[in-house]
């Protein structure tokens, strides 16, 4: 058997917007091309590779009613053929030079990622532009992807963390697109047609809601010339871009149990929260870090280190373009669910009842401010960060403002936001596992 390393921690999704660079210089050079594309370029000349990220505002938040999964399907079919090449021909062309070209949809955006050796940048950008400007969306490929996505949904029902996240989103975001699974459902997938895909792409993939980040062994001039030559002719439609309805929480928190024959139960608590545009976001990030952010956090210390009740235990704030959520989660053996739930609720409440200690506050701030250089240490990570900051409308100097905002957070701020966002009586709750 392959040596599967068993890490000490589960790897949490990288929250790009949690941190800020140490350097005062903006992370990338920004310019707006004539058709509205925002081009971001960061030169990293040492290694002969280039990473490109394209974000266009065509995520699952724009799935029409009853058509959950349409953005996911569109993203999945995007690299499966263009006017010039079939899907297998695209695969063969990019992989022959050891590169990769991937597309996929998230909540807010559809992203296309290219990674090539510098010498193959021309080829890589040719393929990227073909995919963006002349996707074929053939009937055959759409049908194939519908079947694969449905099978993937079925398969994901085996993963308790996925099942719990899906259920929690439904509770936290009633009536909002964020409450529906990005990948859709078995039922909604069955309704989707090629016409839906073509219509969705035409309506939502447009240069004036698109960010292109180019990072690596490339100059600003070269990147502009190469991108303009290929994407300069992409015309913006006359119609206004799509809108996403405002989110309203449910009037009272709700609970859901999903029965599964498992030895361990997955517990998730969550609620709507705030994003970077709200000044309270920064104390909230600090509060969540003290509560469940790292291996010195209160939850980790009490539930894992001292009581041995969990391997995976954490909390995080997840900001998106149209809303944010706060989540605290743990996995523990079935019999200990009440005890772990009690501990998590107790720690949530304590965050609001009493101020965090100076030591905890300093540690959280030092980590959040100091860990940034590690998050920008490869071309791919720089491209992800630059594109995300631009797309969220935070400005390329967000890094500096973030540092300053985190540095100003006081214990009183932390307590105030904890009272509001961690109040145990305001959190929705999901448990996946054996029902007692």
């Amino acid at each position: 058997m392959e040596a599967m390393p068993t890490n000490r921690f589960l790897v949490l999704p990288l929250l790009l917007t949690l941190a800020a660079p140490a350097a005062a210089a903006p992370v990338a050079r920004r310019e707006v091309l004539p058709n509205g594309i925002v081009l971001l370029v960061a030169e990293r000349p040492a290694i002969p590779i280039v990473a490109v990220r394209v974000l266009t505002r065509a995520g699952a938040a724009f799935d029409p009613s009853g058509r959950a999964g349409l953005a996911t399907l569109t993203g999945a079919v995007l690299t499966r053929g263009t006017a010039k090449r079939t899907g297998p021909e695209l695969d063969a062309a990019i992989e022959f030079v050891g590169g990769s070209l991937e597309a996929g949809a998230g909540r807010d955006n559809l992203s296309v990622s290219l990674r090539v050796l510098k010498k193959d940048l021309g080829l890589g950008l040719d393929l990227l532009a073909e995919v963006l400007l002349t996707p074929a969306f053939s009937q055959d490929e759409v049908a194939r992807k519908v079947a694969e996505i449905k099978a993937g949904i079925k398969r994901s029902e085996e993963d308790p963390a996925t099942v719990a996240s899906r259920a929690l989103a439904r509770l936290v975001w009633p009536g909002h697109p964020y409450g529906l699974p990005v990948e859709g459902t078995l039922e909604s997938m069955d309704r989707l047609t090629r016409d839906d895909v073509v219509g969705f792409w035409r309506a939502h993939a447009r240069p004036d809601t698109t960010v292109v980040a180019v990072v690596g062994q490339v100059t600003v001039d070269e990147a502009r010339r190469e991108v303009l030559a290929r994407l300069g002719g992409w015309r913006r439609p006359a119609a206004a871009p799509g809108r996403v309805p405002a989110a309203h929480p449910a009037p009272a928190p709700r609970e859901e149990t999903v029965a599964r024959e498992l030895t361990q139960a997955t517990i998730m608590l969550g609620r709507q929260a705030i994003r970077q545009t709200d000044p309270d976001y920064f104390p909230l990030v600090v509060a969540s870090y003290v509560l469940g952010g790292g291996s010195t956090s209160r939850l980790y210390t009490r539930v894992r280190d001292e009581a041995g009740l969990a391997y995976s235990i954490y909390s995080f704030v997840s900001p998106s373009r149209y809303g944010a959520s706060f989540v605290a989660a743990a996995q523990t053996r079935t019999a200990e669910v009440p005890r772990v739930l009690g501990m998590v609720r107790d720690e949530l409440g304590r965050m609001g009842r009493e101020p965090v200690t100076a030591r905890e506050l300093d540690l959280a701030k030092a980590y959040l401010i100091g860990s940034f250089p590690l998050r920008l240490d490869t071309s791919g990570k720089v491209a992800d960060f630059a594109a995300a900051v631009e797309e969220l409308g935070l400005g390329l100097d967000y890094a500096d403002r973030y540092r300053a905002r985190i540095a100003r957070v006081t214990a009183a701020d932390v307590q105030r936001v904890a009272q509001k966002y961690f109040a145990p009586g305001t959190l929705d709750r999901v448990v996946v596992g054996r029902v007692p």
């Binding site: 068993t6 695969d91 996995q331």
Partner: protein, 440 residues
């Protein structure tokens, strides 16, 4: 407490006497040295970002475990974060976080590795912490008891409640009847419950010695200066007895082995494995290329044929562990699409293997696989963490400089080589098959 203070005092008084026995900078820019106590040190300057990846790799993994005490290497890995007399429980993580660093560790069949990625100007702290826990670990019985519960929870997540992990463990355990590669890295739960603090302490004493470790750092530092600091911190740790060698040799497999497990799941899973040699064999580069031809990307055969053209599989993949210290498995896994059976999928996987024995791989496929391997090296060089890990991997199999010849070895592989290794290593009657059948 005493032990730690001694180390520190020595370090202050005797820096000049502790210079490494040998130090040389190779053509690849790596400053390599072996300290008098046997600690191997590899340093590579990379000044692109003000960060450093500092890693300590111990030559110990589940491969070094005994029956009845499986999982001890990984349990010890967890205990390495539970403190020393000088740095109490949670201090390690706290100090790293306070300085904006990321730390973690992993245990594999062959190694246990610890890393800290951190701002380069904080490197002294990391040296202090890593040198301390190489020799002075607390191993408090109370901490061991609580941490064994954490590991059992980890096992629930990865194995008990994960159909793929569950089946993988069964397949591994029947594929090997003599060699410890058949043990699950995380350990059997019966062993995890039983292992005593005394056994963990003995395991730590036997394997966590400088002469069984490799220190690798890549990042924004001056290598000779860092070597001096490492020598000062790690040099006073006494050399230990050479750890016992792994003597087990897996005998040839006589006949097919098969395991079928039933478990609550949504879709079946099929595993297929053959014993294969490691990098010491002249066949290894061809096996590495073959693995890429079969499962490296969407243009690979398994994706193209089983997922795309025939829509038999939802997922299919495979792997070959070139770096394995002892001969290991060349293996495949696949999940059938709903409505397709594991039998159909197994037949299709076997047909792909048969085709490799009778038809030469096309030039385009061969060149693509080689280009993918070469490019992946360049991509990995973008990350100081990945660069350090790669150096350690090559050092483990003999010499970090082997990295320079690796791509060259891959480049010499021919279509005839692929056909020869497929015929040699994938006989139909020496495979191990695992099937997971879902119960509702």
């Amino acid at each position: 407490m005493t032990a730690m203070r001694t180390v520190r005092t020595l370090a202050l008084l005797l820096p000049l006497l502790l210079l490494p026995a040998t130090a040389a900078r190779a053509g690849d820019g790596v400053l390599a040295a072996t300290l008098d106590n046997g600690l191997r040190v590899l340093l590579l300057e990379d000044h692109r970002s003000p960060i450093v990846s500092f890693q300590v790799w111990y030559r110990v993994g589940s491969r070094n475990e005994a029956r009845g005490a499986t999982g001890i290497a990984h349990l010890l890995e967890h205990m390495m974060f539970k403190g020393t007399p000088a740095h109490g429980p949670r201090q390690f993580a706290r100090i790293v976080e306070q300085n904006g660093g990321h730390d973690n560790a992993f245990t594999s069949q062959d190694v246990t590795a610890y890393y800290v990625d951190i701002a380069a100007d904080r490197i002294d702290l990391v040296l202090e912490l890593e040198a301390d826990r190489m020799h002075n670990l607390l191993l408090d019985p109370k901490d061991i008891d609580s941490e064994r519960q954490v590991v059992i929870e980890e096992r629930r997540t990865r194995t008990e409640d994960d159909p793929g992990g569950f089946l993988g463990e069964e397949v591994g355990s029947i594929a090997f009847k003599a060699h410890p590669y058949g043990y699950p890295i995380i350990g059997w739960v019966e062993d995890l419950k039983r292992i005593t603090p005394a056994e963990i302490r003995a395991f730590y004493r036997a394997y966590y010695v400088p002469n069984n470790a490799i220190v690798v750092a890549v990042g924004d530092f001056h290598a000779p200066e860092l070597l001096e600091k490492i020598t000062r911190r790690f040099g006073p740790i006494p050399r230990g007895p050479a750890p016992p060698p792994v003597l087990a040799v897996e005998p040839p497999q006589n006949g097919e082995r098969r395991v079928v497990v039933r478990k609550q799941a949504q879709l079946p899973i099929v595993y297929l494995a053959w014993h294969a040699p490691n990098q010491r064999s002249a066949d290894a580069p061809a096996l590495e290329v073959l693995s890429t031809v079969l499962s490296g990307g969407r243009a690979s055969r398994l994706y193209r044929h089983l997922i795309y053209e025939r829509q038999l599989a939802l997922e299919a993949g495979g792997d070959y562990n070139y770096f394995s210290l002892d001969p290991n498995l060349f293996w495949f896994w696949a999940t059938p699409m709903p409505g397709k059976t594991p039998e159909e999928l197994e037949r299709a996987l076997l047909a792909e293997m048969d085709r490799l024995k009778t038809e030469p791989v096309r030039d385009e496929e061969l060149d693509r696989a080689k280009n993918q391997t070469e490019a992946s090296f360049v991509f990995q060089a973008d990350s100081v963490h990945r660069r350090a890990s790669l150096l350690a991997r090559f050092e483990l199999i003999g010499d970090h400089a082997l990295m320079d010849s690796f791509v060259g070895r891959i480049r010499t592989v021919t279509a005839a080589d692929l056909m020869r290794v497929a015929r040699t290593w994938f006989p139909p009657d020496r495979k191990t098959v695992g099937v997971l059948l879902p119960t509702p």
